[in-house]
Symmetry: D2
Subunit: 294 residues, 4 copies
């Protein structure tokens, strides 16, 4: 299939590589010439603009850092909507606020283009291994068209509902994830300060009502889970700055609909304080450092 | 075995019943004459005081509402330590602060009595069914003596470490539980306000990084989990007042060791606000009402 | 002086009236025809667009609800910058985020227009009485030009620094105001619950280290200050929705510079919860209701 | 007058010195022999126990670190109530929880002793200069008896109501103070990060609705107020550990009456985190360091 792929950063590039491996013809655009050259060596075609890429695709995929880029890539003069043929399916895999997602999808629909949102989880590791989870907001028909291609880049392709619901699912999950991680950090640090063995405590929590992914799979206390970033100095994993970005999207979306997220806003601020302390480059589980003596 | 059992409230009475069923001889004390009469009909012996009960037991079990009662039952003139024979094992199943637990155990040790702490989870349902979890703080030797008897009242008998660690495990787990429940409430209510189907959202969270017991087993959104209190008007379950008590124990213990629990303290206050609104009698998952329009 | 005045809502209309009274010739624009007609009767001239109004002013003043309107009024095809003569001073009195203020001022500067920001405090009462406080972000030269005219609409005309600092001053003050009001609410409600006379408590706080404007001038406890909204059912005053807007601007600006505002974010959420409960139309001191039994 | 004075720490010793200067005969007790010797040189009489001191006083004054000491000094075998003559007025100047204050006053009343609570503000500087504020919980009659003597140690002698209300007034004021100080810290740090001159910002706040003691008298930003601890590296002043103690009393009292103090609990945790970072010995305005880059 001819696929236009726009946005080839840490996530987009390995995703595009997996599509090339699956035998698709890719029409690529990014501002970074180095990554374009690398993918051209693997057989990709370099386009001069999002518009040009879109014009040659039977499907358009975008993977961009933030709403402002998505807006620009779709709506500018040289953008996707200026080049895409009517009836061509498109999907934006960026993580952005649901309202912008809906606005751009509406702009696409106005010219006969069926655009869905499909933010991912799984990180750069999942992108390389092709094991991402895609949370897809799209009509049933569009979902049917996207599903086989997304499945070549990921393992779980979940239909969340109409356009925008992919973003909603992602920010709600990550809102809870940020809260849980801080909750686990407080519980582990408190237990340690009070004198229980942290390995024992984690075991009890994980077989009781406190159990959660942040505790049983990604425990922030060093040594509890051998494969977690805590066991390797909080390197790799899901960066605190990305968690901060997602918490920012969640509280902003909550503000728009006047929905309180009291714990979520506190989590956002605690990650902001972590960023101010200069630890934003660490895995998000390093928030536990805020609960340990210097 | 001759067992002294002191404290026959909503939890203690069904626990004692299970021990009677197992064939033990019970020496019972409580201030409530009605429950004593009921258990006497089942074959229990009524004692005049904690001291008298303890004097006749080869094992002493206590199950009391709060630290002040534990202190009084063990340390007063008519108390357990005034009657218990040297060398007799004892276990307090009350949920109290770890420091009081350690203080009373030290007082017991000073007169040759090996006292452990073993708070439970599982609620009145678990007490009746004999499926409680016991989190036991005790020496290895004492744990070995207690384990077979506790196993007649519960399913999971976990050795947490030395005296006091049972309480620590419980309050750390419940600290995290309170935080998680509010986190799930915020995520579900936000998703609903933004327009995703709550059943779909719960499904995504439960197969993703936000998954936790509060989401996959006890989801506060009505109808998501058929067996959860949310499906029956938040009746039954684990009362908000009990969660409030446990969060109070956790923040108080944290204060004693100067350990911040920022989210935990916020959770405590949100449950306090729930209590002020008059909803303290509901299951603790009803905290989600704070996130829904009146 | 010929003054273009754009934005004639609850604040803008009485401000414009005060300028008319001072003898200026006004060129007015708003989407609301009724208010235009009213001001025309007082001698104002109606313009067809922001562009037309600006073209006729020796000074341009704007007073708009939010950043999106400011952007549109200045930057659209029919906007102020399309009509204003080079060298004409201009001032935006809207309360918006500092970054948008700076962006629009930079756009103005690019075509030789010296635009400053001057958000106000004092509410509709201050606008009518001409007793507003203007927090002005402008070059020293521009401030000198604006000061005499602003003084005809307000009492305190404060020079905060370069462009954008007016907005910064306002959101920082109101961030603190929101926090203080909740702090006073908690202190008064706690004192009352513990059994001290609230009038006595307010007196002590007001002569001690807890004293603040929210306590000594605008106390949220009914009856403590006779002139405060609390004494008249929380009507009038500074609406909770406006406080919520300002807290939203403050936390958003903080996010942009990665500056934690932990208490501020919590204040925002508590006002959001107040809005969800349906009390957003009350004075912002009614936040104390969250601390009183239903 | 013969006055029994028990508790001669950093606050009690200078208070006792002022009473000696005023010509009273003092009967002193403390565990610290050094301070007793110093005060004996100034003419004080050393007693062997609180009981002995109380037996010789026409008035009893106590000034102790915490509730546990107050309990012991009044209620133990060698305590004040064992020695004091019926009808003798007494006042406890310690800062403790209102419930303990009431309990001990009730115990005193039961044997015909009229005991009031009168916690102070003003710190060691105020104790030395005799400029303390006393917040007095006492019957009108007892207040009349205490007032002249307290006035020899302080400047403001405020009658707060019945027994316990002195403590209530103090913890409510300090709850608000802790919240305000953090609020000012956030506002000043945000303004600085956004680019306004902090001196200008403080000036605006102090003449606007954000003004408070923490901003206009004790501003935490270095250099804004020359006499504030911020201008001398946060040394001297009101220690963060004392603020943490008072916030602990406030949240504990709130818990007892089920009164939410959401901001107050957050303030407590932020001071706890400051203590964990090792900054508990600094003035409480140093909380602003949590909002500055390392």
């Amino acid at each position: 299939m001819n696929i236009a792929f726009i946005g080839l950063g840490n996530m987009g590039a390995p995703m595009a590589r997996n599509l090339l491996k699956s035998g698709h013809t890719l029409h690529l655009f990014d501002l970074n010439q180095t990554v374009l050259a690398e993918l051209a060596e693997l057989g990709g075609n370099i386009s001069a603009s999002p518009k040009d890429a879109a014009a040659q695709g039977d499907l358009v995929i975008t993977m961009l850092p933030a709403a402002t880029h998505v807006r620009s890539v779709y709506l500018s003069e040289d953008g996707v909507l200026a080049g895409i043929r009517q009836g061509t399916p498109a999907v934006d895999c960026s993580t952005i606020d649901p309202q912008t997602a809906r606005d751009i999808c509406a702009a696409a629909a106005a010219q006969g283009v069926d655009l869905g949102d499909a933010p991912v989880s799984g990180g750069t590791g999942g992108a390389q291994a092709g094991t991402l989870t895609f949370m897809v907001g799209a009509s049933a028909d569009l979902f049917g068209q996207l599903q086989p291609v997304l499945a070549q880049m990921g393992r779980n392709i979940v239909h969340c509902g109409e356009v925008g619901t992919g973003q909603i699912a992602k920010i709600c999950n990550n809102l809870l994830l940020g809260i849980s991680m801080i909750g686990v950090s407080e519980a582990m640090a408190l237990g340690n300060a009070l004198g229980i063995d942290t390995q024992v405590l984690a075991g009890i929590i994980n077989s009781s009502t406190g159990r959660c992914w942040s505790s049983d799979t990604y425990n922030p206390w060093p040594g509890v889970i051998e494969t977690a970033p805590a066991a390797r100095g909080y390197s790799g994993g899901f960066g605190a700055e990305l968690m901060l970005k997602d918490l920012g999207l969640a509280t902003e979306a909550a503000k728009q609909v006047r929905q309180p997220v009291i714990m979520g806003a506190l989590a956002q601020q605690l990650y902001q304080a972590m960023s101010l302390r200069g630890d934003g480059g660490l895995d998000f589980s390093a928030i536990i450092k805020a609960y340990q003596p210097r």
